[in-house]
């Protein structure tokens, strides 16, 4: 299981790819994260995360069609794999269990 753990930033990237569904390429993901979290991220950091997530098998990718913009370069679209969703669910479940274990009194 060691290799399949999710870091905080990786989790966010994975979630964002899931949110964008069919439109999840680099810049779209970058903008979505920046909009939701109100923080700037670098292209390098983003692609490093993509790399790792692909290596762990949580993401898969395909190249799109070439367009006139972007200097004629194709986009790479990402998609969350089944194990990717599995990992996200595990994280969420673990969190929920923690939340439920907090005694009522702690919130008062």
């Amino acid at each position: 299981m060691r290799g399949s753990r999710l870091g905080e930033f990786e989790e966010i990237v994975l979630l964002t790819v899931a949110v964008l569904f069919d439109e999840a390429y680099g810049i779209a993901v970058k903008k979505e994260i920046e909009a939701r979290l109100d923080r700037k991220i670098s292209v390098g950091a983003l692609h490093t995360a993509f790399n790792r997530l692909e290596k762990k098998g949580f993401l898969q990718s395909r190249l799109g069609e070439a367009t006139a913009s972007r200097g004629g370069k194709r986009k790479r679209y990402f998609q969350v794999t089944a194990s990717g969703f599995g990992a996200l669910k595990t994280v969420r479940q673990t969190r929920n269990e923690f939340w439920e274990a907090i005694p009522e009194i702690a919130f008062k």
């Binding site: 292209v43 390098g44 190249l63 200097g71």
Partner: protein, 866 residues
Amino acid sequence: MQPPKWMTDLLQWGLPSGKAEDILGDLLELYEEWRGERSQGISNWRFFLHTLSLLPLFSPQFSLFSRILNQIAMFNHYLRIAWRQMQKHVRFSLINIVGLTAGLAAGLLILLYVQYELSYDKSYPEHEQVYRVNFQVPYDGGTEVIALTPNIVSPLMQRTFPEVQAGTRVYEGGRVIFRIEDELIEEPAYFYVDSLFLDIFQLQTLSGDPDAALREPRSLVLTESAAQRFFNSTDVVGKLVERINSKKPYKVGAVIQDPPANSHFQFSTLVSFYTLRKTLYTDEHWGMANYYTYLKLSPGANLEAISEEIKAKVVEQMGEQARDIALQFQPISDIHLYSGHIIYNPFQAGDITYVYLLTTVAFLILLIACINYVNLTTARSTQRAKEVGLRKVVGAQQGELFVQFIIEAVFITAISFLLALLVIQLVLPAFNALTERSLSLGMMQEGKMIWGATLVFMLVAFISGSYPALSLSRFRPIQVLRGSFHGASSGGWMRKGLVVFQFAVSIFLIIGTLIIVQQLNYLQSKSLGYDREHVLSLPVSGSIDDNIQAFRDALTQQPEVIAVSSCTESPYQIEGGYSIQKGWREGEEGLSVTAMAIDEAFVPTMKLRMVTGENFPQFRVAKYGEPNWQFILNEKAVESMGWTSEEAIGQQVMLNGRAGMVKGVVNNFHITSLHHEIGPLVLFNGPDLYTLMVRLAPGEVSQGIAAVEKTWDAWEKNEPFQYHFLDDQYHRLYQDEEKISQIFTIFSILAILIACLGLLGLISYTTAQRTKEIGIRKVLGASVGQLVLLLNRDFLIPVLVAILLSTPLAWYAMNQWLDNFSYKIGISTWIFFLAGAICLLISWITVSFQSFQAATADPVEALRDE
């Protein structure tokens, strides 16, 4: 709307092939967006930052980039640490920086000076092809080389050898006076030259046609500064100039650039050779060596073959007696530094030995400054030991630590280097005044100099940094971190050795300086055989020359004037080139001598001593062709002719065609500098008495000058009053040595100060380490005196050893230098004691300054343990 190509190329090249396209695409998309809102600069900058963020994604084979990035980060870190160290130990850093700054400033200054000395005459285009012809003539059993040649040499060479592309004779016109717009203007550097002069000394023409000007009589070529001085303008071609004592006016034919300051030949007005008396250029002959000859040869000309051939020609034209005569070809770029042995080398000269000497001194001073850094850094190494240990524990390699400490040395050196440049800028005017050169910091940027300076910088950083870096980076982490480490003691002998070296060098320089100064004092005060104090020499011409007797009578009536005499030149510059023979038959072999025409008052005025015979009985100026010349020989000349003084009187002799009799013998007196031995000298009753020697009463010198000037003004309307003191003129013969001795004094003081600075650093460190020991000793009853002695002892022993080491070396080296002089001091032992004492005293004061402070400190402070 494209980011710079090199960035996209870099990404394309570095990113793994499968990823490059889409990532680059992402970036380009962003870029387009930015360019919609922001300027290109900001967009480019953002693009660059994102590119940097992608470097970790580069394929493994390009991971060099990330390593470089890491190195840059480490470099930043090292610089920061170096800066913090500097702030934390202000005192030591200051000592290091001040020491290195002083050393670098001295070193670079000398480097500049040496560079300047080596640059002489090299700014002329094609200077490699230009030679001065020197004349080698027999003299007193051997030969001597003079810079003057007969007037035939240049035309003959040009006619005979196709390799000679151009040649010029240069005849020194001496001082002339022009009258320009009713103002008398003196021109001290006036030269008669042939028309090809400017083919050899290629200077830019500012106006007019200098080649044409030098072909016509009475036509002048002015340098820019001369034109400014005469007319306050350079647009002067065609203007007429009146020369005093000349009936016809001179015309300005052209204005040229000034000769470069770093040229041996400084002239300001040139006049065509055809202005001279006609016979001087039409009658070519081998007598009368009065002309400098410069030739320009074709590239690759065979000098040896030319010398051989011209020698054969000389023998052919002058007969067997010319066997020893030869022409030598000296490259003009050698004239400045390699003319020590050449007589009548007319211009201010340098000396290659002084160039070597100063380079050595510069190197030694730099070394002393480097040693300070080495000593202080290694002495304080215990303080850095923990840092080294910890760095090693977290994975630093020895090599990396070495780099770190080298970078610290480079950092300190760089600061010192910048400060040194500032210091040079400040002292340069004074240094220029002292050396009579025109150095500038701008020379630093010139070709070789920039490499020289860089080399000095690297060398200093490396010499200072490498040993401390090596010893620090070698610490073993276990020893260091266990806390039982005393690294400083291990390098103690090394530090002491270096201190010995520093002081040995300083003492060497001090001894050298003392001996040079002593020798110069000796030269200045040595009895010259004549009394040169309070004697004025006045060059005369024009109206005074026409009424010389009346003028002299007028002078003698002044109460401040003791005696007046006429002669050809001041005694310090009596000319050679004469030869005296026994008997009156032409063509006998002669003795080469120096000679001068004088009057009957010369011997008493100069206070010469007659050995035998009389001082010109019934004096009158002799004429050529009459056998009534009278001669006074010095003892050396009499001896060289093979007579005793008594035998000499009444002998029939002939001096270059002047037949006459020896009338008297005078004591040997020094005519040139004491570099040379007294040679044979002949005084005779000739014409051309252009110089007046006026002896003033001691104690009334200034009134005397005023009286002479008043008389002068009454008699002479055309010439300004001008005089020299004979002893000043004499001092000028030793200008070189005086300058060098001043430079030497400055730098040897600097050397010892830098060495003491290091000593100060070392003692302040050890006293800080021994604070507790001193406290305990005090508590137990040690007196301040005992403590000071205890602390000083450690430092004075190296100084004593240094004295012992450097004394014999200095003795040997200075004996070598003194061999340059025919008349010299013996080196007395007190000099060595004095130098040693100076060194001991200075270092004692330096050390005591610190040790006294430590010894008088309150022991409570030292022993209290919170």
